[in-house]
Every structure is written in C-alpha cells, then in structure tokens.
Symmetry: C2
C-alpha cells in the first residue's frame, strides 16, 4: 500500500488556494478579497496560505502566472506580416485593459507592486516579461526580415507598443478600442521601419 | 479700522498647509506623512485640513499643482527645431522619474489615484493635462511646419513620447538616462515624420 505523499497533498492545497482566489476575484473585487475568504473557499486554514504566500497580492500573482502558463508558452503568431501580427497582440492587450474586470485586477496588482518592490519584481519577471519577450522575439524576426531598422533597440520598440496603452489606461485619457490599437500599430511601424 | 478679513485668514491657513505638506514630504516620505504632522507644522488644527481636503493625497496634489502653476504657464520652447524641443522636455521628464524623491512622490500619488477615481481625475486634469497639452501644442506647431504628418492624432503622439517612460518607470525594466530619452525622441520623430 502506498504511503500518503505529502508533496502531492501540498500541491492539491496549493492548487485549491489558487483556484479559490481566481474564482472569488470577480465575485468580490480585489479590494474586498480577503485571505480568510480564499482559505474558506479552498478548504484550508488561513495559516496554510500565510505559510506559502505573503498576502493576497502574492496569491493572485501566482494564480495569474499559472493561468497564463497553462495556456502554453507565450508566443506571437508569425504570419510573415508584421503588421498583422502586431495588430493581433496590440488589439488583444487593449481589450484586456478595456475589460472592466481584468482592468480592476490589473489596477489592484499595480497598486500592490507600486508599494512592494519584491512583488513588483515578481510581477515583472513572471507575468509580464514572458509576454513582452514574445513581442520582442516577433520584432527580432521582423528585424531579420528587414522590416525593422537594424539599429532599433528592441526593448524600446516593445515599450513603444505597450507604453502608450498603459499611459491611456492609467490616466484614462482616451478610448481603448480596436481603432485605437490599429493606429498605435501604424505609429510604431512608422517608427521602426527602415 | 478695517474689520478682519476671514477670506484672507483662510488663504493664509491654506497656504501654510500646502507649504507644510511640501516641506514635510522629503523629510518623512509619502508613506509616513500624516495629516496630523502637516497640521502641526502649518500651525492649524487637523479639522481645518479635513474641512478643505479629503486626505493627504488631496493636499499633496493641490501643493504640486500650485508649485507647477507658480512656475508660470506650462509651455515648451519653440526653437523651430522639433528635435531640440522634444529632447529638452523628454530629458527633463525622464530625469524627474529617475529622481528618487520625485519618483517616490509620483509613486505614492499613482497609488492613491489608482484607488480613487475622483483624485485620479483631478491629478489628470490639474497636474498632468497642462503638461501634456503643452507638448501637444508644440507638436501641432510641428504639424503646421510640415514636420509631423497631417493625419497623426496628436493625443496619440503625446502618448508615444510619455507612455514608454511610464512603462519603463512602472516596470523598472531599464535605465532612465539622457541617452534613453534621446533615443525615445528619435523613435517618436520617425513615427511622426511625413
């Protein structure tokens, strides 16, 4: 008869906590989400959560990272047409910021990361970096194909695509629509073109 | 003999509160700044502050707005050379975000505005809009001079200049230097050029 496997039990509890957090988030909103409520829904003690995470921000970050990772490695389509591929990723990013529920989560995580350097590094390296790197890889392919100037710093090129979206979202200065996304891509393509 | 002027007395108290807040900020940092400490330094009661402001975020916002306004109307130099003028404003913005004290204040205000829609609108309309509009005016002059394509949306052009700086500052993904500022201006000019 096999002995119980504590590693597997821990993994089940960890999974239950992450699922509970993601399930509760749209119901309560981030501000009213509590570690107590996550623990209750996951069927674990509050101390189990605090043994593994520093707070709800860290739980939500892990949950989001796993949700993104579960969707497979992040990669942009490469149709050979840079405009088409960038439009797809920029439209979908703009739509995420326009979605009130996703936007509320991003806003809450942004608040926590502005106040917590360690969480900021984790959010950047585990959640955002893979997505930004995927865009950078697609731009590098465009550079090899002669669609992007050789001397362009690809990190700056990525920021040129996503910085304006953050700015508009943060300051609420304009609509977040497909038309907006497309014209942003046109500006970026003009900036990068040989 | 003139009767005491309550309007003037109020204005003196208001001014004392704003000066106290700006004076204390670099000493304590935003997180440890309290309404009590501002009141004590200003020589007014705490209730005087709460009669006019909702909290320290609103006080700091007013103080920053007045400091910016006192420097005169915001306008960019117009040397006729768009590159020179944009480099000046982008370098100075990048330097503000690189300055640890100013950056701490901006971070604190960003946290408060992400959590408070009314304060967000005020920060945008009273603090940021005049600065963004000044850049927009300079770009419009460039458009009239044939240095910026006629069909470019100038709000998007402004976001193209400042969005990447916010992105880099928020995610701490790269250095905030004059070289960075200059190469951002080159990308933007390429995006906007006819």
């Amino acid at each position: 008869m096999p002995t119980p496997d504590p590693g597997r039990r821990n993994e089940r509890a960890r999974r239950a906590v992450l699922d509970a957090a993601l399930g509760l988030l749209p119901e309560t909103g981030y501000a009213d989400l509590t570690v107590e409520a996550i623990a209750a829904r996951a069927g674990v003690g509050k101390q189990t959560i605090y043994r593994w995470w520093r707070g709800k921000g860290a739980v939500i970050l892990d949950a989001l990272v796993e949700a993104v990772t579960a969707a497979g490695p992040v990669a942009l389509p490469d149709t050979g047409d840079l405009r088409t591929d960038l439009r797809a990723v920029v439209r979908s990013t703009v739509a995420e910021f326009a979605d009130s529920q996703l936007s509320a989560t991003t806003r809450a995580l942004t608040i926590e990361t502005l106040a917590d350097d360690a969480l900021a590094e984790q959010a950047r390296d585990r959640l955002l970096r893979p997505q930004l790197d995927a865009v950078k890889d697609r731009l590098r392919a465009g550079q090899h194909a002669g669609q992007v100037r050789a001397e362009v710093d690809l990190d700056q090129a990525v920021e040129l695509l996503f910085g304006p979206i953050y700015h508009r979202w943060l300051l609420r200065t304009g609509p977040l629509t497909d038309d907006y996304a497309d014209s942003l891509v046109e500006l970026a393509l003009a900036a990068l073109a040989p």
